[in-house]
Symmetry: C2
Subunit: 390 residues, 2 copies
Amino acid sequence: MSDQPDNEPFFRSRWVEEPPGVEQIDAAVLPTGFRAGAVHCGLKGSGATDLGLVVCDEPQMSSAILLTRNAAAAAPIRVCRDHLDRDSIRAAIVNSGNANAATGEQGMVDALAMRDAAAAALGIEPGGVAVAETGVIGVPMEMDRVLGAIDRLAGSLSTDGAVAFSEAIMTTDKWPKRCTLRAGGVTVSAQAKGAGMIEPGFATMLCFVQTDAVIGRTAGALDEAAAASFERITVDGQMSTNDTLLLQASGSSGLGLPEGLLDAVLLQLALEVVADGEGATRVGRIEVKGAADAAEAELVARRIANSPLVKTALLGRDPNWGRIAQAAGAALAGSDIGELGPDVISADELAGAQREAELGLTLDRGEAAAHVYFSDLTHEYISINAEYTT
Amino acid sequence: MSDQPDNEPFFRSRWVEEPPGVEQIDAAVLPTGFRAGAVHCGLKGSGATDLGLVVCDEPQMSSAILLTRNAAAAAPIRVCRDHLDRDSIRAAIVNSGNANAATGEQGMVDALAMRDAAAAALGIEPGGVAVAETGVIGVPMEMDRVLGAIDRLAGSLSTDGAVAFSEAIMTTDKWPKRCTLRAGGVTVSAQAKGAGMIEPGFATMLCFVQTDAVIGRTAGALDEAAAASFERITVDGQMSTNDTLLLQASGSSGLGLPEGLLDAVLLQLALEVVADGEGATRVGRIEVKGAADAAEAELVARRIANSPLVKTALLGRDPNWGRIAQAAGAALAGSDIGELGPDVISADELAGAQREAELGLTLDRGEAAAHVYFSDLTHEYISINAEYTT
């Protein structure tokens, strides 16, 4: 990506392929047809904004949403799964402060009330409003605070509200995660929050994506871009009860989505989520080649990426190929792949790793390949998760 | 278990069920029919013993061996897998200092040479000698040191050599792991080494078990006892290239194995391996009940036991049921188990955890149950694995 605008955090990853002619623009600006806003309603004791809203003003828009597959999903996930018109999600209301998870029947009532209040304030169908929540679990929602702030929230909407929105969805993120890219007359913007520690223990990933492109198969486009970004990352192998990824396309540009534009935005934000993982200092990329099939390649890559021995080697800048061999052998337990040594494992980048390190393993079992991005495992991860008890 | 003899390390676990009339005896003493010994051959720079030998002098003995399923297994594993009479393993030769892993063709030649030299010194068939090795990987064996010490090693054998043997197989273990129990006229002794960090990164578990019982189906007895002990533990979810568990039965007592005796010895040593895991300060036990089937119960229990969030909660004495819910939901991703709260999760023992804490989760999907023992995840784990680089 090109120049670093104001407020644009952290790194641009070497792993993000830019589409031809791309320009990165002010992340506050939303694509045509969108408005966003945020207020402090009182869920966060700090006084920081904790309620966000993003809306597409074009009724002929299209949308797609991906939700956590966690079997113990939180109320907002179940609302989105069962009470939403997925192809036409006009708006999303998001709180940061309370995950509304493990809150029983009342949690569902509250999540539906949030949806309905936002729909009423916006004058749209309740089935057109997604609900996302992140924060403490097992604690009842303070619904008077949320509902009492809905009109103010609707009043805060503006076409350059993306920065405010990206800040309102943060929990323990070290920096807001947002990115706006333009190519071929089309703009894609996105705001995400990542896997910071959320008392008492859920690490939720939320990401909201807006574009003025015309997208025919929105769900297909989102599936594809997510498969190459948010589905390729791991911080600590955990899966939240609240993960949500929403794509909204206003169609206002009248143009199709340039190839690679959505992918670039999503991969950049996915990598920021990893880079801002709990205690993380570095991001690794492991690519496994020569696997028997795609499932095997994925299995081996994930086993390596989630290995605490590999993750501590990334922290310690230790080009320890033996740990990669061990993890690969464990992934394929029960078969025999012979011994794996430095002739088929590339771990050299660990030695001088700064922000990023690329690792590789070449098996000789077939033609399939897979890669996974992961964070290192650090003392701060232990401190965050062990020292601040509930 | 009853009184704590000299040299008997650490704790007796509340989770080990003692068979009726059991007595714990001096762990140096081997069951009738066995001798063990150890020498320093020079693989360890420290001068500590690094070559051990255990032998059964009763030709009509029986045996069974379990080997790592890691697909990138080390040379000694492949020697034991392909070149051993598993039913009649008279002896085991063990070095600590070099894992002989990722050492290519020469590694196999060296492991076979160790086996042959030990067999010659003992006057038994080469197919009756198991080889186990643990230590650095990717480094050629210093075979002159090993072979030059074989006669001395054979000369060190004695009927009370179990302490020396247990010390010779240690790498970064904080204490030697050994246990001898007697019940119903039968003695079972065992020596183990655990998951200490082994430069550059393998954590190998070795365990050698001797009994004077007459065992008909030795492999069946070992499978059963291992399934309730060494197969129920996890330190960091990693699987070594060198793990080995050997059971030898001399039959010298003329008596059958009392029920629960082998299980008690193996579970005690397995728990010591967890308790002495890298950086570990506590051992947790998670029991999952009400699963649809045994595989599901196992999957959920392992996911919880390997969750870094649960492991740091054990360190932080944080009764954080949300982390258990999250891990269980992730294990069953794609299905819907509703929200899991403190009504079905027991995490209270985390709050005051000293050495051990017992956790529980009751699903409502069926009748199956499974449990797993695990260590906490600590700053020392990070230090061990990140700060001492290769």
